[in-house]
Amino acid sequence: MPADEARVISPMGAKLKKHWRVVFYPLGMTPALWLVWQGQHGALGADPVNVFERSLGLWAFRLLLVCLALAPLRRFTGLNLLRYRRLTGLLAFFYASLHLLAYAGLDHGFDWSVLWTDVTHRYFIIFGMSALFMLIPLAQTSNMFSMRLLKRRWKLLHSLIFPAAVLAGIHFFLSFKTLNSVSAPYLAALAIVLLSRFLPRFQAGSRL
């Protein structure tokens, strides 16, 4: 009996063991669901649309920062979490898309004339929108099939994340009237994850 059971369950078990990380996708969506729940229950305060919109944008930026931090993290600490780059990158794109939807739909009721003026005249909006558009091809080619298909060009294409992050950072900075203790740490984090790529790696092995 135990032997039979093992034979039936082990392929399933192996599959689960291999792909258990998919739980992070629904988990990554909980902040969005939580914000919607709060919004419907009056917990987002006096200006709920604004808080909702800004919170989604902030989550997008946070996830983008985590995604960008994984490579330097391995380089400087040896901790390899590169397998989470796709997850965090896709979630960042998901939140950025919701952020755009909240801005266009909830905030402006899809008033195209207002949105058109924003997109064509205001650097604040242009920077944010460009960052989101740069993430679209990255999300589209985040699968193994595209990786194999594009080979070396895949890496080149995905280096779009750097200009996207810089533009998102400027957009984030401009969303406040002045620099402040909320925005400064995020901007510092962005500078660190971007600039750390140019730092030499200080490890004993590299002295050879």
Partner: protein, 271 residues
């Protein structure tokens, strides 16, 4: 907040006030922090009493007013005004206050005076936001009006809201209310009023002159560089999917009373 002796004044119209809780918990008062909830959360150490308000500069009779006297003045009246923030949201607030013009007249302005400068309080020990070095804001907060704007009957020095003395987060003990201008002109916790013969510097204009002009009149046709000013989010719905936007009115709906002040001026230039 203590109860104020107040009576109904003109200019109330048929406006429905924003809920008290929103008026007192959704504030821009950077001296207490930049988040809208910061002023209510971080202003409990601020002491608005005792307080003296000075009216000096180009006046024949400089005045030093004890706030206690003002708080018991029979001249306090209720004015229900629209409040339009430059950030494209709006409220309706029942203020209790004294028209600025009556206090200025008591000081007897010199004929050379053309402008009025206002100065807020500098108390980093009681106002945590004044210790924040990143913002680049120079404290104390300063604002200004042209003398004729200051003398307009709509311009109010508010001592209370909702029939009670001002909560700290709303600018206790005395603040300016200029309902046809963006909210940031309404300088809070005023200590000094000076009459001048030139336009005084103002805090936000000093920081970003392309975004915040000296006049800062509510104008749906002149956009902020980062967003349209044609419409505004109405504060108070508390519902994410039931929130409303409404068209912004020229001079915030007070054109009849103030449009004459700007006759012949290019309001795109003098924004």
């Amino acid at each position: 907040a203590a109860a104020l002796q107040t009576h109904s004044g003109p200019y109330s119209g048929s406006l429905t006030p924003t809920p008290h809780d929103d008026v007192t918990h959704y504030n821009n008062f950077y001296e207490f922090g930049m988040d809208k909830g910061d002023p209510a959360a971080h202003s409990q150490d601020f002491h608005p009493l005792p307080w003296t308000l000075e009216i000096t500069g180009l006046v024949r009779k400089p005045v030093r007013l004890d706030i206690d006297q003002l708080l018991h003045s029979p001249a306090i009246e209720e004015r229900i005004y629209r409040m339009r923030c430059v950030e494209a949201w709006s409220m309706v607030i029942p203020w209790d206050g004294i028209p600025l013009a009556s206090l200025l007249k008591d000081a007897d302005p010199d004929p050379k005076a053309t402008h009025v400068a206002f100065e807020s309080v500098l108390r980093p020990s009681e106002m945590p936001g004044q210790n924040e070095g990143l913002s680049g804001i120079q404290w104390p907060y300063v604002e200004g009006l042209r003398l004729d704007e200051a003398m307009n009957p709509l311009t109010l020095l508010a001592l209370g809201i909702y029939g009670e003395t001002l909560p700290n987060q709303n600018g206790a003990p005395i603040r300016l209310v200029v309902p046809w201008k963006y909210g940031f002109k309404g300088i809070k916790s005023i200590q000094r009023i000076r009459l001048l013969d030139h336009e005084p510097p103002t805090t936000w204009n000093r920081l970003a002159s392309d975004e915040y002009g000296f006049y800062a009149n509510v104008n749906p046709q002149v956009d902020h560089p980062r967003w349209s000013q044609a419409t505004e989010r109405v504060i108070g719905s508390h519902s994410l999917f039931g929130a409303t936007r409404q068209p912004t009115l020229m001079f915030n709906g007070y054109g009849e009373q103030v449009a004459d002040l700007y006759r012949g001026m290019d309001l795109r230039k003098n924004f």
